[in-house]
């Protein structure tokens, strides 16, 4: 356990960093806590930025993880508009972007990930947007109104959620995806085709199997996206959502062990015992799947914030959780539990045409992952089966007449 009076510095004030700060106080850490954030505002929830917030159904106050006064009241020194530039691990100091430096006893790296930037002509035109921060979301929201033509580059979750919100705001939306199907890296084929149909019913158009080779513009303003086949799709705004990369440079430069992100253990500890890393920036163990992986999700950020706060305050390590994800598009609630590693059998439960179904991914008689569309019982039960490594009967699972409670009985 760390000295209860230790100075904990949290680099990064996103969902992971903000949660770690709050949990440290909940768990009784008495020493000073400093939280450094690159953005101008206190930690907030990012998921609604592409969903409820974009559609105008949530305000800035509801996005905030905690009210601003919380940090002062809890004795958390929150400093905005600051970045960490370099780590001196022997001296336990961190150099900041304003030229100052800060001493730490314990450091938590919560630097997150950043959107991949397309290195193609026209990428700097006004109207080429990303969606990661509240400022990004403000710019997108300001651009979306009835009749505006939006091209979404990348048919992943961010792109599809923004497409759905764009349609709700009356924009014309076309999605360009490099792969032959949507959500190719993150979901099964049944889900891809379900979401494509659903978006098409809501007026979204798709160009699949095509890459964007450049952005066309006039007077510094975007006018279209150019595709590999030579076509240019006219548009007023382009949202680029082609994945993210971890902000792990500061850790790499300081010689911390890194792979696809900063390598941590199940207590979120890096290769330096005084430094923890949490959230999107980490390459972490997945004990249920017996491998290391980088996850980009809120549940992952929360789980690791808890791991670090427990380790720092001398609490027992929390049990490993089953990774999970969710997405809201139109009237569709998608909930995913687990990861589809080493799958040898895929089972469909329910009829996609009914708008309510689940896809189960099995390895032998063990459930590895479930993708549930408007099907909370399948998600909730599936998550428990994965967590408990419970052998299940594929026949029962595929039979809608057998309830999920009975499947698990």
């Amino acid at each position: 356990m760390t000295d209860p009076n230790a100075h904990v510095v949290i680099l990064g004030a996103g969902h992971a960093g903000g949660t770690a700060a709050a949990l440290l106080r909940q768990y009784g850490h008495a020493g000073p806590i400093t939280m450094i954030g690159e953005e101008p505002i206190a930690p907030y929830q990012r998921p609604p930025l592409s969903k409820a917030w974009l559609k105008g159904e949530a305000d800035a106050e509801s996005l905030a993880l905690k009210p601003l006064e919380f940090y002062a009241e809890a004795g958390i020194d929150f400093r905005a508009n600051l970045r960490g530039e370099a780590l001196q691990r022997t001296a336990k100091t961190i150099s900041l972007s304003d030229g100052s430096s800060l001493n730490y006893d314990v450091l938590i790296l919560a630097t997150g990930a950043r959107p991949i930037v397309l290195n193609i002509p026209g990428a700097d035109l006004s109207g080429v947007l990303f969606l990661r921060s509240a400022a990004d979301a403000e710019a997108l929201k300001a651009a979306l109104r009835p009749g505006v033509r939006m091209a979404v580059v990348g048919g992943g979750y961010i792109g599809l959620e923004a497409a759905a919100s764009g349609r709700a705001l009356g924009a014309e939306v076309i999605v360009v995806e490099r792969e032959e199907r949507l959500l190719a890296r993150v979901a099964c084929e049944q889900l891809s085709s379900f979401f494509q149909d659903h978006h098409e019913q809501h007026g979204v158009r798709f160009v699949l199997g095509a890459s964007v080779t450049g952005f066309a513009g006039e007077g510094g303003r975007l006018t279209g996206v150019t595709l590999t086949d030579g076509r240019t799709l006219s548009c007023d705004v382009a949202l680029v959502g082609v994945g993210a990369v971890p902000n792990d440079e500061i850790a790499r430069d300081a010689g911390l062990e890194c792979a696809r992100g900063v390598v941590v253990d199940l207590q979120a500890r890096t290769s330096d015992p005084a430094i923890y890393a949490i959230g999107d920036v980490t390459h972490r163990p997945l004990p249920l799947y017996d491998r290391m992986f980088r996850l980009e999700s809120v549940p992952n950020a929360l789980e690791q914030a808890k791991q670090a706060a427990c380790a720092i305050t001398g609490r027992p390590a929390p049990p490993a959780e089953t990774p999970w994800f969710w997405s809201d598009q139109y009237d569709v609630k998608l909930q995913i539990a687990g990861l589809a590693f080493d799958v040898d059998r895929i089972l469909l439960r329910g009829d996609p045409a009914s708008g309510k179904f689940a896809v189960f991914h099995l390895k032998g008689d063990r459930l590895q992952s479930v993708e549930a569309v408007n099907a909370p019982p399948e998600f909730m039960a599936g998550r428990q089966f994965i967590q408990n490594r419970k052998p299940i009967s594929p026949e029962k699972l595929a039979n809608l007449a057998v309830s999920m409670k009975e499947v698990g009985a």
Partner: protein, 106 residues
């Protein structure tokens, strides 16, 4: 504004004023009250904001939607007065509400 009493599983009580329009979950999370995790931030996607509504307040707190019911169905230690606190909107009528928390949300 409504005064809400949140009682942790170990008996620790937290009494806070929660703004009308927020959810009972947000009232706990924004005041850093332990015991409600709310992993999904109120999207009714995770069932980690499970609470027990004091018997005297059950009617005023309303009833669970079909989506909420089916999530609760698979939560741990569910009782007749179980709710997902992200789905209870705070109104002036809920001034005095008493909420108890389960031992764990995971």
């Amino acid at each position: 504004m409504a005064k809400i009493t949140y009682i942790q599983h170990d008996g620790a009580e937290h009494v806070v004023d929660v703004k009308t329009g927020l959810s009972v979950m947000e009232g706990a999370v924004k005041n850093n009250i332990p015991g409600i995790d709310a992993d999904c931030g109120g999207a009714c996607a995770c069932a980690t904001c499970h609470v027990y509504v004091d018997e005297a307040w059950r009617e005023k707190a309303g009833t669970a939607s079909a989506m909420e019911e089916s999530m609760l169905d698979f939560a741990e230690n569910v009782e007749a007065n179980s709710r997902l606190s992200c789905q209870i909107k705070v109104t002036d009528d809920l001034d005095g509400l008493i909420i108890r928390m389960p031992e764990s949300q995971h």
